[in-house]
């Protein structure tokens, strides 16, 4: 290897390092903090790497607040809305790509427009509606709006996958006596499984991350989702950072694992649908 090659190689390494540090730094920082004791945190000057690592913050994160309930609530809300979103979006994507629909582009654009509605504008009337029909502090008050939030993106992602499946396969299935809807679920959906899966991950992450609606509609502590629950560890003036860090790590690790395993799909889905971020 000559000098010029080595120079290029180390420049590439440096570029990669910049991107990696930029992305990982906050997560690594809170991980280190979650292992610190309260007294080490208050030391001045601050320490970067914990001196005597401890897991006590993880234990306390569960005893101080019902972290296990926050997790359960997030799983229920994100899980249910993901399932409904994928199902409803699959039907719509099928109609928009495989059937001869009038004004297809207009329908797609309208759907995209909905994804850009300011949530805060919806919160005021939705809060009134939820209060009237008694859905406050009910999982449905989040599941339904989350479904709508992810519908446009999921529909677009699945539509782009459905488009690539040959219509001959469906035609063959229908010759064999399948109805159109059966063909959708037995032929098209399995073939578009990667697309369905990508849509599901996007919908799940969207729901897992949402804060504003969750803060507003599920106000009882035992009903809080993770994104809101984590903010409850702080007192008015006190910030138990090691405790908050431990809870944060617990909250982000499942999603991190999910996107680490399926990163190529997620990137493909994000850039195909042009999701908001």
């Amino acid at each position: 290897m000559n000098l010029a090659e080595m120079k290029t190689k180390s420049m590439v390494m440096l570029a990669g390092l910049i991107v990696v540090v930029n992305g990982f730094f906050p997560a690594v920082w809170i991980f280190f903090t979650s292992l610190k004791t309260e007294s080490e945190l208050l030391q001045f000057p601050i320490t970067y790497i914990p001196r005597d690592p401890t897991l006590v913050n993880y234990y306390q994160a569960f005893t101080e607040k019902p972290l296990h309930l926050f997790i359960l609530n997030s799983v229920i809300v994100a899980g249910a809305s993901t399932i409904i979103t994928v199902f409803v979006a699959a039907l719509a994507a099928y109609a928009l790509t495989r059937l001869k629909m009038p004004k297809r582009n207009l329908l797609m654009s309208l759907l995209l427009a909905v994804s850009m509605f300011p949530l805060i504008s919806l919160i005021v009337p939705l809060f009134q509606v939820m209060r009237e029909i008694g859905l406050l502090n009910n999982y449905l008050s989040l599941i339904l709006p989350y479904t709508v939030l992810s519908l446009p993106v999921c529909t677009l992602v699945m539509a782009s996958f459905f488009q690539d499946i040959s219509p001959d396969l469906e035609a063959a299935a229908m010759v064999d006596g399948c109805t159109r809807v059966q063909a959708l679920f037995k032929i098209v959906m399995p073939l578009a499984a990667p697309g369905v899966f990508t849509a599901a991950i996007l919908a799940f992450v969207n729901a897992w991350d949402e804060f504003l609606l969750a803060l507003t509609f599920l106000s009882r502590e035992s009903m809080r989702t993770l994104s809101v629950g984590i903010t409850l560890y702080q007192g008015e003036f006190a910030f138990p950072w090691p405790l908050i860090s431990a809870a944060l790590i617990v909250a982000i690790v499942p999603v991190c694992i999910l996107i680490a395993i399926f990163q190529e799909r997620v990137v493909g889905g994000l850039t195909a649908g042009g999701v908001k971020g």
């Binding site: 930029n22 992305g23 409803v88 995209l112 509605f117 504008s121 919160i123 479904t147 504003l212 971020g277």
Partner: protein
């Protein structure tokens, strides 16, 4: 037989679209109607004896006179003006770096995905702590270089800067992902040809990369602008709008009016104003997509 088959296909299409339609009607269209309607009434849950009288445009007139509203609007515009170009610049930088030929692609890709997947409110919490006066990492870092510690979150101007930095960090990685997809779709042959013609890297960037990236940049900018209009989570977690109301955004002020002051009439008027602003931004986007769809 042909026409009847087409008709049934169309009927099935509408049937399959019906669930989307019902959900949208329930969660978006009806509430928006209710929002605009409520904005013409006095609805104060703290003063139930007032009833809910029709007041015409009084809530809008109140906003016109409300200094806190203008302050929140000003902050929102400031965050848009700084973070949209800021996160485009950082995102483009990250995308260019991530587009280099790495042996292992996953660390870089994951590094771009992590900030995207991190909830906004968590980013706000983590950066609030980075910017802490005494225990924060930022002040520790700058004092090591001999500078004085900066009161990041207790000084109105510094707090705005800290919030903008956090928003740019959080949103630039999504920008980078969209732009990276754009970069990767540029045919390599263009660069090879430029190389043969002896064009420098900078000329290649200016004459090939940027023009080819325009569609991706446009999409990324529109999405960023629309989310920037709604900025809530990050200032909420970092400063709660303080010190005073100096970092409060429009979304935070709407939330405060409705959920804390329980003034639904006024909150609805403010939310309607925001809704109209978003519609303008969205229609710009739609016109662009319709035009590019027509080109295909």
């Amino acid at each position: 037989m042909k026409p009847s088959k087409d008709l049934s296909e169309r009927a099935l299409g509408w049937l399959l679209l019906a669930p989307v339609g019902i959900l949208l009607a329930l969660i978006v269209i009806y509430p928006v109607g209710q929002l605009i309607y409520s904005s013409f009434f006095t609805i104060r849950l703290t003063e139930p004896w007032l009833g809910t009288p029709f007041v015409g445009l009084e809530n809008y007139a109140k906003a016109w006179e409300d200094e806190r509203f203008w302050g929140a609007l000003q902050n929102t515009i400031l965050y848009i003006a700084i973070t949209v170009p800021g996160s485009l610049a950082v995102g483009l930088g990250l995308a260019m770096l991530a587009n280099l030929p790495f042996k292992r692609k996953w660390p870089v890709r994951l590094a771009l995905l992590l900030p995207w997947a991190l909830p906004l409110v968590f980013a706000g919490l983590i950066f609030r702590w980075f910017f802490d006066f005494k225990l924060g990492f930022v002040n520790d870092f700058i004092t090591r270089f001999g500078f004085d510690p900066v009161p990041w979150l207790t000084n109105p101007t510094m707090a705005k800067i800290a919030i903008c930095i956090t928003i740019i960090w959080k949103s630039s990685s999504f920008m980078a992902l969209v732009l990276l997809a754009g970069l990767q779709s540029i045919p390599k042959s263009l660069y090879e040809a430029a190389e043969v013609d002896g064009a420098s890297k900078w000329v290649q960037f200016k004459e090939i990369t940027l023009p080819m990236l325009v569609p991706a940049i446009f999409v990324a900018l529109i999405f960023r602008t629309i989310t920037a209009i709604q900025t809530f989570d990050i200032p909420y977690a970092m400063t709660g709008g303080g010190p005073g109301d100096s970092t409060e955004t429009l979304a935070m002020y709407i939330h405060k009016n409705t959920l804390d002051f329980l003034d639904f009439g006024y909150g609805s008027a403010l939310a309607t104003i925001m809704f109209v602003v978003s519609i303008v931004a969205t229609s710009g986007y739609l016109r662009y997509t319709q035009r590019s769809a027509g080109r295909d």
